[in-house]
Structure formats: C-alpha cells, structure tokens
C-alpha cells in the first residue's frame, strides 16, 4: 500500500535528493523514507482533536505530464523534490478554535488537506479524532453541473444522513445561504461568494466534530462574514466544536480564534495564543 519507489531504485532517488538538499537548500530534508501513519476515528470524546507528529509532505515536480507518467514507471526521470510540509508538529485540543496563519505557499492548504484526509503524508503521524466537515478552497466538494439543491442532497448522502434528515436540513441551509432562486441553478453559474455561502451553510449545518474553513470567509461580504462568525460561535458553545480556520489575514482570525499557529515554509514557527500569533505573523 505504498506509492513510494521500489526498494532497489529508492536509493538512487534518495541519493539524488540528498545531493540536491546539500547543494541547493539545506532545509529540504529527504522525506521519501520512513513510516507515514494516519490514525482516524470518530471518537469525539478524545481530548485531542488533531495531532501532527513530524509530518512531511513531499511533492515530486516533473517538467510536464509526460515526464510524470514516465516517472511512475521508472525512477530515472529527472524531477524536483519539494516538501510542502516540512517536519510539522502541533496539537489541537478538543474545543479549540485555532487559526493557521501563513503566507501563500506556507503549506496551510496542504496541512488542511491532510487533516481532512484527501491527501496523504509522506512521512510522520497524523491523528484525527472526530468527524470533519471542510470547506476547501471555497468548495465543499460540489459538482458544477448539479444544482445547489442536488449538491446538498448528494453531500448529505455522503455524510450519511437519511432521506428524512436530509429533507429537514436542506431548507435550513437554503435559508442560511440566502441563495433564493439560485438554489435550483447549476453551481457552475454561481459566483465565488455564492459558492462559499452555500458551502458554509452545508459545512456548518451537519453537526461536525471538527469544522475546517479555508479562505471561505474572505470572499463573502462583511454582513455575511458576521453571520458566519456568529454561527461558528453558536455551534462552538453548544457542541464543543473544534474549529480550524485558515487565513492570511490576521484580522479575521482575531474575531473568533483563541489560538494560532504561524506556518512558514511548511513548518510551524510560532504556536500560542491568537494575539501572539498575529503579532508574530505581522512582524515576520
């Protein structure tokens, strides 16, 4: 169950990566070796919601798709090795609201994708306890050709709701998203703000244990943002929800996060309360 290169050829790739690491950039360490472990369960009483221990995520960059295809058959194809997540460790406790701060390319989205489980670490251990509802890059996993309503029905299906539960929930989501008649239009006709509104309505209505929001609030207008913040505060107070908020603007993070982590080049450079994190982020 591994996409790593075969044993025989592994050394040569490793050797090349080591050479690259020492000559070009000492911070890039080889992450193609060692155990990657993902522990995932629905235990929402575990005091730890998410824990990263020495997590690496390595991307192999090829010149083009043809090279990448060849690269899956042989290891002789030249490619660059980039660690989007570089020895990242942190813990998010149950009930925390935590902001991941960082510039573009700091590895925020990669970390989130690994938490939600759509991509896998190359090395290290990730623990996630509880069910996650996520808004990744504005979309909560919507199909552009289906209408808003059909998408919500499908997502409720995938989340595991019965038909009755779905039918009870959709009017609430519809109301919260303020989409009106657009609900019956295909999602591809939506603006990014509309998508984010529908996504947020879905992600926050399905009663998750961990809510992940990636940039979604940055496209909505002020009033809607306020509404979202209130909704998050609401469910946080009620259900012991854990919130992970990703942003590059500290003002938003200050609104409803209590803790913050600042990421830089894939590793955590500051971990602490939100004021400290914002200050650190502004200074560096």
């Amino acid at each position: 169950m591994s996409s790593r290169p075969k044993t025989g050829a592994k050394l040569s790739v490793k050797a090349r990566a080591m050479r690259a690491a020492t000559t070009e950039n000492e911070r890039v360490s080889w992450a193609g070796e060692g155990e990657a472990k993902v522990i995932r369960d629905n235990d929402k009483n575990n005091p730890i919601a998410v824990r990263f221990s020495n997590v690496y995520k390595t991307y192999y960059l090829y010149k083009n798709d043809k090279q990448r295809l060849l690269g899956t058959f042989t290891n002789k194809i030249d490619h660059k090795v980039i660690n989007a997540t570089d020895n990242l460790s942190f813990t998010i406790n149950r009930g925390d609201s935590l902001a991941l701060l960082g510039l573009n390319g700091a590895g925020k989205s990669t970390a989130l994708k690994m938490i939600t489980g759509v991509c896998y670490p190359t090395r290290g251990t990730i623990e996630v306890h509880g069910r996650i509802s996520a808004l990744l890059e504005l979309s909560a996993g919507f199909d552009g050709n289906l209408t808003g309503r059909e998408n919500l029905e499908m997502r409720c299906q995938l989340w595991g709701f019965t038909r009755d539960e779905t039918e009870a929930l959709i009017p609430q989501m519809h109301e919260f998203s303020e989409l009106g008649d657009y609900m019956e239009q295909p999602i591809r006709t939506y603006s990014s703000g509309m998508k984010a509104r529908l996504g947020f309505a879905f992600a926050s209505s399905i009663n998750p244990d961990i809510l992940v929001i990636d940039e979604a609030l940055s496209v909505g207008d002020k009033r809607f943002r306020k509404k979202c913040e209130e909704r998050v505060k609401d469910i946080m107070a009620k259900d012991n929800l854990t919130v992970l908020f990703v942003t590059h603007s500290p003002e938003q993070a200050l609104q409803f996060c209590t803790r913050g982590i600042v990421l830089q080049h894939g590793s955590s450079v500051f971990e602490g309360d939100i004021e400290g994190a914002c200050q650190y982020y502004d200074e560096h």
Binding site: S2, S3, R68, L158
Partner: protein
C-alpha cells in the same frame, strides 16, 4: 503479492461500506449525463435508435447482407451487439478509463474512497445497458420474436461485464489522472475495439488465429455472450474456451488494477 491482496480486500471493504452511496451516486451520474438537454431522458433512446438505424441501412440497403442469423431477425442480432457496445465504448473512450477527472471534487475536496468512483460510474452505465436490454426484450415480446430460457443468464452476463469493466476503470483511471496523454491514448482505442471485436460481424468469419486472439478480447466476449442469450440460445459457459479465457482476463485485469491502484491512489489527489 501481499500488497495486491491487501489492496483488494481494502477495496471490497470500501465498496461494502459505501454501497448505499454507490447506488445514489450512480443515479446522480445518470441525471448529470442527461442534464441540460430539454428532451432529457429521450436521448437515452434516440442515440441507440439512430445508430441502429444507420448501421441497418448500411447492411440491409447498402450491402444487402441483412439475412436472418440462426433464424432470428438481423436487426435483433445487430441490436444485441451494439447495445452492450455502447456500455463498453463508454468504459473505454467515454470516461470510464478516466473517472477521476470527471469527479475531481470527490478526489481532492472530500475524503472518498477512489475505487468507489469507478464502481458507481460503471454502475450508472450498466443501468443504461440493463434498460436498453429490457427495452429489447419488450420489443421482442411485442413483435412475437421467439425468446428462450437462455435469457435467464442475462443477470450473470451483466455481473461479469460489470466486474471486468469496474476493474478496467480502477486500473486505468489513476494513469489517466496522471497523464492526459494516456487518457487520449485509451480514447483512441475505442474505434479499433468497435470494428475489430465483432460488434457488427460474426467472429466465426475470422481465421483460426484471429478467433483465438478474440478469446482474450473482453469486448468480443460481451457481444458474443449477449448474442448467446438472444440469438444462438446457448449457455455462456457452453463455449468453454471463450468463457474460461474471459475469466482469465478478469483475473489479469484485477491484478493490474490492484497494482496500479496500490501504487498510485495516494498520488492522484496531488496531481489532479
């Protein structure tokens, strides 16, 4: 070897856990295919009807070769070859070998087992095939064309085709996700498969070597098996060479699928 078995068991487990969603998603895929067309479901019948009409014209009027086969109407012989071809053609060139691009939001926005995407896509295409075969049976009943007990093996034929083409999709989709060249290459194979697999001619016309090669052609088996049910009134395991060869390539494609899936499924979300 151990990796392949582990992957296979994991896949069976995923498909079992998500079985309800598989069914719902197959229905959604059908809706999506005919979405945006004012006539909607009618297209489900228009496309086969037009194809059958055109081919029938070519053979019956143009080439004058539309003699009854095994005392069954030529049109029926043609229909039960072309309908399964629509299914298989969709699996080869119509997205079946590239499901991750079609459902990229299930790959990199939601945590969803990738093999299940292949399953529900194949199922959705299979539903169309089952529908058109039911339509064929109804037409036969209306036109009082003789049908035999051999029709009861249809579910088995469907199941065997479903298995092979799901594995086919699991095998090729990760490769197509990594390289567009690859999906184009597979798409190009669609037409040769159509013309070489006996969809529109009787494989018995081939020389001996050609017939042996066709034993290992899954498209040829699909058409022959369907014709065994409707035209030749035979049990599919009766022609045991073909049947064993088909089971053999099912095993081969399973191994290839497990190999490709185990090696690439963690990489797919990174490149899509």
């Amino acid at each position: 070897m151990l990796v392949l078995i582990k992957t296979f068991l994991q896949m069976l487990h995923d498909n079992w856990v998500w079985r309800k969603q598989t069914w719902e998603l197959a229905k959604i895929d059908l809706v999506k295919t005919y979405r945006g067309a004012a006539l909607g479901w009618i297209w489900l019948f228009v496309k086969p009807a037009v194809y059958i009409g055109v081919y029938y014209f070519t053979f019956a009027v143009g080439m004058r070769t539309a003699a009854p086969i095994n005392h069954m109407p030529f049109l029926l012989w043609m229909a039960v070859g072309i309908f399964p071809w629509f299914f298989m053609g969709d699996m080869i060139g119509g997205g079946g070998s590239d499901v991750y691009h079609r459902y990229s939001f299930l790959v990199n926005r939601i945590r969803f087992p990738l093999s299940v995407i292949s399953t529900f896509f194949t199922l959705s295409k299979m539903l169309v095939l089952v529908g058109t075969m039911l339509f064929t049976i109804i037409m036969c009943l209306i036109l009082k064309i003789k049908l035999t007990i051999h029709l009861i093996q249809l579910p088995l034929v469907f199941a065997l085709m479903m298995y092979f083409w799901t594995m086919w999709s699991i095998w090729l989709s990760p490769l197509s996700a990594i390289s567009r060249d690859f999906s184009k290459l597979i798409g190009t194979l669609s037409t040769p498969f159509f013309w070489l697999s006996g969809v529109l001619f009787d494989l018995k016309a081939l020389p001996h070597v050609g017939r042996i090669i066709m034993y290992f052609n899954p498209v040829a088996w699909g058409c022959v098996a369907m014709r065994d049910c409707f035209i030749f009134h035979k049990w599919i395991w009766h022609s045991h060479h073909e049947f064993i060869c088909y089971l053999f390539i099912c095993v081969v494609v399973t191994v290839l699928a497990m190999h490709s899936y185990a090696r690439l499924h963690k990489e797919v979300p990174d490149v899509l």
